[in-house]
Amino acid sequence: MTNCLDERRIDRYILNRLSAAETREFEEHYFNCPACFEKTREREAMVEAVIRKKNDLLAPDRAALTLGGRIRAASALRPWAAAAAAAGLVLVIAAGLVLRSRGPNAGPGMTGGDIVRGAAITALAPSGRLKTAPAALAWKPAAPGREYQAEISGPDMNWTGPATETGVVLPEDVRARLRPGIAYEWQVKAYAPDGTLMERSPKTTFIISK
């Protein structure tokens, strides 16, 4: 009998990448090895989750990857960009301090390295205590020609979705997952057509009353 199954081989089996002979050998092994069968089943669940969340794992896509290089290039050519970025950073940090003071569920920390050009987006709603789960997120539009992505994060969820320049209607399944008594944060980010992150709102907290 072969040695117990390694992750790479399990992945290839799940993705139907093994040859017929390799598949037979693989399957015969797990029919005789409960531990490897459990490993395979768990791995399958992981693979399915990766398939389901593939876009989310890779979001916000190339914007974050190119941001550092583009900011550096822009700052060298346009001095005002550095000043605007610094102002944006101050706003972002200030918003983070306010959110942290609101309780244990302040949510994911701000990554200090992100610098955004231009002004922050003004978040309109929701915020604070709500009677029911919000149906939509709303904000003031940033500069024209932006592509928007909204995010909601909390202890039990991380959702990202495309949005218009003024807001997004929350999908029903996302609304259904928002639980009373839990602090959630939402944020909108605006990207240039080439994927550069241009503006974003501060993270805004809301809680649905119990």
Binding site: V50, L65, P155
Partner: protein
């Protein structure tokens, strides 16, 4: 009815022992059948029951002589039963009207390749980042629960999980 021994001296199970062994094999047979025929196939339970019944009959009748393990024996029966099922279905489908929509095979290959790359990238993550990513993003456990399991603060969970996503994006971007 007690167990008997085969020509090699190994014990061939019987009675309750046999039932217990086959019950343990049921999920494995089910998994293989569903994987072979599609996870949405409605016939899978019937096939699993037929496989286990056949295995039980062959063991009780003495047809199974202990030349392989019970696991291998049941695996062989399962494989043959799946082939029979596919052949039978193929004869029926040959005369069936064409499906209105068929998945694009190129899209399927592309999707599989991308998922495989993503899995490879996840394997490359440091264990703590990988675990945070798996528990928080993939299993969608509450942040507090992930923190409890990993023995870290909830804020650290978010930090490591977000960092893992960044690394994945970087790896996938080449």
């Amino acid at each position: 009815m007690g167990d008997t021994t085969d020509r090699t001296g190994a014990t061939i199970p019987a009675g309750d022992d046999l039932d217990r062994i086959l019950a343990k094999l049921r999920p494995l047979v089910g998994y293989k059948v569903k994987k072979a025929l599609g996870f949405a196939t409605p016939d899978w339970e019937d096939i699993v029951n037929e496989v286990l019944m056949q295995a039980s009959e062959k063991i009780v009748s003495g047809e199974f002589r202990g030349e392989s393990t019970i696991g291998t024996f049941v695996y062989t029966i399962t494989s043959r039963r799946i082939i029979d099922h596919i052949r039978r279905k193929s004869r029926i489908l040959r005369d069936a009207p064409e499906a209105g929509f068929l998945p694009d095979p190129h899209e399927e290959v592309e999707r599989r390749e991308q998922v495989e790359l993503l899995l490879e990238a996840i394997r490359k993550l440091k264990p703590r980042h990988r675990e945070a990513l798996e528990l928080f993003y993939l299993k969608e456990l509450p942040r507090e629960e992930v923190a409890r399991r990993m023995g870290i603060s909830p804020a650290k969970v978010s930090e490591w999980a977000n960092y893992a996503k960044k690394v994945l994006r970087k790896i996938m971007a080449g």
